[in-house]
Symmetry: D2
Subunit: 418 residues, 4 copies
């Protein structure tokens, strides 16, 4: 990631990145009403307004309150509303009740943002704050993606098929059908994890050696068309393809297709940020659970890659450069657009459980709750999706979700032993 | 109810009542944002916006669609959204998912109202529609009260203690402490139910004879102060005072006070449409379940009245006149204000289950689903609350709720045997 | 009930009735293994062993402990196990966990019974105990019926279709097809409730006057054949026939037939105490919920009777005599056999909610919890079933269950207005 | 494991092992009544009787039915009852309803066992069946341990504190307090997994190389006394020590101590197979969840080992010899007795998720469902407990449970980085 300077050494760039990140978040909600922005469709998702305010609370708490002498809270009652899960920061609104916050209004949340963004200016030049600012930017970028996927899920509940961005192109992009072969890797000892010269989350390190067997990784993602073949072959009703928990999940929820798919008279349609659209067979399949990804791989006679296999290939391919021009970008359009590569289409399930790397230790204090405490029961996803902000992707990035979750842009890339 | 002419004979009055009712509903939500109006806090409640649109759907379906030749639906997709429970009118949004309707917006719901209100004009003069129009007015009045109580419950969820009407007087009014004795009744055969000369719901008839034992009914409602005495005496922790289902309910939900009460450093406060207010001991207790009402009566060595005892006293007291000037009224303030009598403070739990009167038959068609199909598991409440619209109360009126519900303005009036 | 002397005046008869009741309970479980007798299939039911011990606990607690000087408890830990719901008697095993009591064993429960039965002898002659003894007998008779219906439900869970009484005749008896007309009643003031000269539960009084409209009551019960016609006419899928709560229940549980019915290749079969048997169309339908009974009556263009209509007819018919020879009887067979009349086939749902009669007051102490605290949410059933012990039936008897429950022998008798 | 010959090469030894395994299972239930043996206390556990029959079904299905010409099923209806989770073998009783099987009786289950055990004789000498027989033995040994832990949980529900083995010594044994230091390991490439010369489950292979960092593994297990120190220091109420899912679990279930602990007036007691016993501080702590193990390690400033760290140390220590003389053994006592080492006290949570080894493939058919389909959401435990049958332990053995489960004999051994 040579194009990304060490953030703490260049506060000018950091300040600019801070301002652009703040603006991008606001651009994402520009078409939403207060009612849209207050919608919470399930416990896993949060209202857009809450994302606006929570990311602001993060700056107010860990930067302004802790590092700007004399700063007064915008509203003393709001930390209770907008703390997400930091036990060290005290009590908070129950996660599943965030949709009850019709007040403060969307406009008040915007005022809160402006107030905090401006108050941050004196800190942007302070090198002792640079690491925390870099973390805050990364944090807000994560919530940009969540805001988009949560809002998609919220609008999906509406029988009217509401849209978030009228006229936007359908994400993600089509796969290159001529590119359907494999990257081969001879195995052996490889380096995994972040090398420490630029910003990364704590869970991406420490960098360490891993031992790989010879393997191959598909050059492209599994497509909607391939998924239809899986479905046509009885994929969702063949118990032998499924993990035991996956089979229970399929039966309990009567799952017969990816999330957001709907069978119509004229074929399958997909719910997108631009409303209901015709499904295109050549595009990567998205919104599938780990259980579905694993069952598909079994059906295909292949398997999911480990996170280290994925990373080893990504390092070799110099993949970071590949996604320039994709993803969320304030300088371009705030709409999700797609790419065709390791990054930028969808997050890719790996068969690796989300666990600590050797010698990993969370930092002390509330910030230490950022990643480490989630290390049970989840699987790692690698890459980045069409909803991931530009500059937020890395070869070492570890996203993680529970195996039944699929409201993110989740897809799969096959692997096999050599 | 001599002051109320038979509606079907006087279409001028009916038309005027129609227009005022429509306006009052809109006045009730004048201070709400779209986000406020989209809030659904539990399965029992509905968003204010939904009430606005559902009452409009009722007019559009049963009057305009069925009786105005050539009428086109405002939006063909909306009946699915705004049908409440009429099976005969087809599928509909699940009750607990009404809060997902961020769209249509509050403004669109208002446009829908205006469109339908104006479209109704040709029908207002037609005598063949008068009975249905009277029913539609009564229906919308019921939803005015529900809108207020549902919104109260919604705003209550907000840790900020949001208000619906700033500066409104606290409902309901104080009880007359000098009036604490009893109305006595010698028993015998009495007439119960509506006499048919004016509008009433089907469940209020047929009028029939009932046999009463000598009894007494309290001249005033149980007050907050008396409820505090019950609490201080261990009312909520003395199993022998409670019905078995009530005791299970108290334990499962850890109930220790009426809904909307909160113990603070300076005494008890109550959540109201105007936010948190100091509790006044002389006011009638409200927001109690049947279980609580019954336990209190046991503690007091008294009992709840039957619905027929209540009605017999109300007939004798000429109670209808007593509540002139109270309740919701577009000509006055849209705010709930209180009264001191049988009507206008709070609904009063009776010990009568909600069951059909002798020879009751629902009418045919969807309208027949209005009342009859709810006749199991609920108890009758009599009177009217501070949130009941003026003109909507009757001596024969039968409100009904499940014994655990308490988000309505529910209170109690004691009775005893003579 | 002139044939039944006032129990408290004739301690010889009472003593004999006590001994026979104790023996009958034991006879009912003679074919059960310890594992059978420990089975609890849902929260509503209890293991047979628990019934054996609970009825014994009742004698030990309210008679021996309270009235026999120097009596020592059989085991001091057992009251915790075998108290049912008497809050005044302290903590107890959670209702849904009675199936966890693999110990004490069935043999130990029998020893407990023998010990307590013998210890009761000195009290049987004491006139000051006669009222409590009569209550204890009635209590144990109630549990005899519950033991049979609970055990039926337990064995029904077994895919092997286990039997409880091999070779028993199928209950209940066939209806007299020639007897399909109506008893007519002119209405007017009638007396209802127990007259007090013999034993009755507290909830059967006080005797009081009720006002009846002219009505007719069917001379026979609705049959399986008639129920099949209801099913064939779409009864279970026609929402307009159902109460709202009933329709929710039908859909949530996918109900399409009475409990214990199973469609086979050669027609319908029914699970009975003697295993799976062919369904006979002429027999009374049983194991239906209130919701089903009410929907059937709607479909038939009739209604359910009130409990007072039922009682008025039963008084006129001198119904008490009619059931001589039916029901559980230690002198005859311990197997349920059927009758054809008001008593002895199945309990009959009425449209009356289970509520207190005028001037009803529970007695003080734990015994006062017997009936009164259940007076919300349930409906009254009248008559008696093939599993009701002989001598336990009365014209004034009020059985009560929740409207969704149907594991008892519940059926229906139609009524209509005249 | 040099003492264990390759099973398929020595059918005499295998036959003997088969017979002893069958006898041991029966010995374990010798003190149980039919009611005891029918008890199911939660969905995770099964009745003892079910274990007796299910292990027999395994032999009948995969050996007798598939390999013994002319064999007739003992009862054609029983496979539906006693199949556990093999989808390929058809429908079966829902897992949570196994406690409803009061019939067949315990005696009938024993007859089934005898019948199948004898019918197996002709197959015991057939070398083509040897691999399946070895699997069946291992399968039955697993169920021996489950039978013991499930029965413990069942008897624990009984307020009487029932015992399974009167007079048995309390498991597991005391730890050697003088042995509280560490085994150190320099890291590097190690071999993991089974080497294939003797029986092992499919999930223990393929054998492969793993890369280890320098680390140390505690020479002894964490003790009850150490756990008390953790509790005294607020371990269960300090959110920062816990994984996020763990903290939710602690709060939802109000966990304040290991399972089976109870605070009494004279100190802590523990429920054991021999009833309630005084807790001994020097013994290894057992019956803890992964969440608790992880929180304890955080509190101690250490961590849990990975499964490969554990295995590397066990290989070095020649650990297999260490557990001679411990564990379940038909030749000795059928009671669980304890050991002090890597095997024989309790299963030890590792921080490794239960995932497939490189190039793992389940075998085809129903047997392939044995292990592979459970590879999501669970953690690996290593070692063996006091309830593990002798001969069932291996250095490569991988046990697995969900992180909240703790009814097995689960404990922990600390690790740290060097």
């Amino acid at each position: 990631m040579a194009e990304q300077p060490r953030l703490a050494d260049n506060t000018d760039d950091l300040a600019q990145q801070f301002r652009e990140t703040r603006l991008l978040t606001e651009a994402l909600v520009s078409s939403l009403s207060d009612a849209d922005a207050s919608l919470q469709s399930m416990d896993d998702t949060s209202p857009a307004k809450w994302h606006l305010a929570h990311t602001t609370w993060f700056w107010e708490t860990f930067l302004l309150r802790d590092h700007l002498p004399g700063y007064c809270l915008f509203d003393e009652r709001w930390p209770f509303l907008f703390n997400s899960y930091y036990e060290a920061e005290g009590e908070r609104v129950a996660r599943g009740r965030r949709g009850m916050l019709s007040r403060p209004s969307l406009d008040e949340a915007r005022d809160y943002r402006t107030h905090v963004t401006l108050a941050m200016e004196p800190l942007l030049a302070r090198s002792d704050c640079a690491d925390l600012i870099a973390l805050g930017i990364a944090h807000e970028q994560q919530h940009q993606e969540l805001l988009l996927t949560d809002m998609k899920h919220g609008l999906f509940q509406n029988p009217l098929g509401s849209e978030m961005f009228a006229g936007a192109p359908p994400p993600p992009s089509g796969a290159d059908a001529d590119n359907a072969d494999w990257w081969e890797h001879p195995g052996g000892v490889a380096q995994a994890g972040h090398d420490g010269s630029t910003f990364a989350f704590d869970n991406e390190g420490p960098r360490h050696r891993v031992l790989l067997q010879p393997f191959a990784l598909a050059r492209r993602l599994v497509t909607n068309g391939e998924w239809l073949a899986f479905m046509a072959d009885g994929g969702y009703s063949t118990s032998s393809l499924w993990l035991s928990d996956g089979w229970s999940w399929v039966q309990a929820h009567e799952v017969t297709a990816p999330l957001y798919w709907q069978a119509g008279e004229a074929g399958w349609t997909q719910f997108t940020h631009s409303g209901w659209q015709e499904m295109e067979a050549a595009r990567p399949v998205t919104h599938i659970s780990y259980y579905e990804a694993d069952a598909f791989a079994s059906w295909a006679g292949k398997r999911l890659p480990t996170e280290f296999e994925w990373e080893a290939v990504a390092q070799r391919q110099g993949a970071d450069a590949a996604f320039a021009g994709h993803q969320l970008d304030i300088a371009a359009s705030p709409l999700p657009v797609g790419g065709t590569d390791l990054f930028g289409d969808c997050w890719q399930w790996t068969r690796s459980a989300y666990l600590p790397y050797p010698r990993f230790h969370p930092v002390a204090g509330a910030i230490g709750e950022y990643n480490g405490k989630f290390m049970s029961g989840q699987f790692v996803l690698r890459g980045a999706s069409c909803a991931t902000p530009r500059g937020h992707s890395r070869t070492s990035y570890r996203n993680f979700f529970y195996p039944h979750q699929r409201w993110q842009f989740t897809g799969l890339r096959l692997a096999m032993d050599l």
